[in-house]
């Protein structure tokens, strides 16, 4: 059974979410604060986390960062406002996805399931990006000296999907569907922020990308 961590300070929402996810067959850990959430995760682990941005003391962003530092698990943030700045900051903090309050519960469920369905694509062949060696069947990226470069599962998926496209351009919605597994209303900001994060990890100069290039009006492609 998938284990889900819910960090939400509003008691009523937290209880309702717990009941809903339990009804869908999840094991639920819930925490009213970021501190409790991170502690729970360290003790119990989880397959996916839902984190409210507006938390007292330790913010949702900080909670995301702490969870991300410990694990690759998918994190969905719940933003109070649909402000681009908030969403981007949340994604920059390591979240994979976001929903805004008041969210449609079925949509949250669908997103959570999509994230859990995702498995690393091990069929892709290994390839080199400059000094980096991407090995999909091991799910790792290594520097030439053998040290491992840490990518989140979303980032890794993004990279391998672009690689298997064989130099073809993938549009933002193509990527949303392949990487996030949505066949409903997505948000292209998700793609843009993750591409930016990925660039800071794999590009020698992230502001002048050599491998992960933007094709204006079309999307992104990977130059091998």
């Amino acid at each position: 059974m998938p284990r889900i961590l819910i960090v939400e300070d509003d008691d009523r929402i937290r209880i309702a979410l717990r009941l809903m996810f339990e009804g869908e067959g999840f094991d639920v850990d819930d925490a009213p604060t970021g501190e409790v959430g991170v502690a729970l995760f360290n003790r119990m682990s989880a397959d996916i986390a839902i984190v409210d941005i507006m938390l007292p003391a330790m913010t949702g962003f900080e909670t995301c960062q702490a969870l991300r530092a410990a694990s690759d698990l998918p994190i969905v943030i719940v933003s109070a406002r649909d402000d681009t700045a908030d969403v981007v900051l949340g994604l920059e903090s390591g979240a994979d996805d976001y929903v805004t309050k008041p969210f449609v519960p079925e949509e949250l469920l669908a997103r959570v399931r999509a994230h859990l369905r995702r498995r690393p694509d091990k069929s892709a062949k290994a390839f080199a990006l400059g000094n980096l060696q991407v090995i999909p069947d091991e799910g790792v990226v290594r520097h030439r000296d053998g040290t491992e470069l840490h990518l989140t599962s979303t980032e890794f998926r993004l990279l391998t999907d672009l690689a298997t496209a064989n130099g073809k351009i993938l549009s933002r919605e193509d990527l949303l569907e392949r990487v996030w597994g949505y066949d409903y209303f997505g948000d292209s900001r998700l793609v843009d922020v993750h591409i930016r994060r990925l660039r800071t990890k794999i590009e020698p100069d992230p502001s002048n990308p050599l491998y992960l290039v933007t094709v204006r009006g079309a999307g992104y492609k990977l130059v091998l």
Binding site: R12, G23, D82, T84, K101, P102, Y184, G217
Partner: protein
Amino acid sequence: MHRRSLRLRLLVTFGLGAFILSAFFASLTYLGIKHVLISNQQRTDLNQSFANAALVRSTLYTSPPELPNLLNSIEKATNSNVLIQTHNQWLSKSQGAVTQDVSGAIIDAAVKGHATEQTLTFRGQEIFVVGLPIPAVETQFFEVFQLSTLSHTLGILLLLIGAGAILTSLMGISGGLWVTRRTVRPLERVSAAAALIAGGELTTRLVTGNTDREVQQLTDSFNAMVSQLVDRLERDARFASDVSHELRSPLTTLATSATVLSQHRDDLSPVAQQSLDLLVGDLAVFQSLVEDLLEIARSDAGAATVLIETVPAVELVRQSVRSASQHHGIAAPPIEVADDVHDPQVNVDRRRFERVMSNLIDNAHHYAGDAVAIRISVANELLVIDVDDAGPGVPPEEHEQVFQRFFRGRAAHDRGIARGTGLGLAMVREHVRTFGGTIAVMESPEGGARFQISLPFQEGVDE
């Protein structure tokens, strides 16, 4: 009706007023001066005549043959003509004298021993005739003075006064111009500012520091009014925003709990199931209402949350249409791109643009059985995006109203559709305006409704 111009009316009033006044005073002055001049002249002439008559009398006593010489010298000295009559016979007259100048009435009076005087126009000339009896020698003395020299003076006077009157009228008109400017300009400023404010430029204020107290008062009250209005608008917007924010958490709890109930639907009695369905249905309406309210509140709050990017338009429309159709679970309408559309780039906030397309496609779905086509073309240097359907259309009288908040058109009543929030199209218009574009509703080629978005764009440059 064409309104009369205040400016023109003021000018005409001032010009005409000045003209009438100056003409009136000019005529009064002219007539007064003329009267004084003429009566002065006549008094002088009369005195002269008495003196001349005395001279004639003494000459008649002493040496009557000298009379013609005397008369001629009088004519030379006083520029008048003298005639002497005795026993109804003209005794003598000066060289220029004409007997017709002297009327019978004057002669009769003089014969009867009365001194008379008469002003008359004779042969086009104004003349002043004096008749004096000289009873001692049974003679009548007549002297004819020409008033033409006076007429000349009066002519010049008339010219001067007339010129003065015209000058005064002109000054009246220029005074009118000045007053008009002083009074109409502040009015024009107020109306320009009001137009700006009506157009959404809520920071517009009138410039203060005018020296006129009345204008200053107008400026102050106008600015105070606008400030209050803006405060009120902001309060209203904040209120809507605050309420929606407060609703978010309980609404999330409600929606999630309803989902939990739905998970256990089979455990419920048929009555409870039915009421659960009602609950779930209206929660969805409630949810979109709050979402739309929040979205509008964000637009009202200003550009702080808008993220404008330059995006290739055709791709953007394709993407938005696809994701909107998926979101609403309906078939994506075909996208028709006109031949003259190359690679237009538009400056929009992606997320808001997606909301716009999503709303229009959802509307078409609910009111017209789905959009039949999305058509992209270029007209008047604007990129035109048409969302066309083949439904009943929007009646012309509702073309403007459909974009108003909480407006529910005939279509909604006819079809008994209660799920709309009444905010969708208002939000769509807000968003399109944010992108510097416009939206209008008209008839589609299929006879249904066409929602037409016009956006400024620039042609893309190939990289």
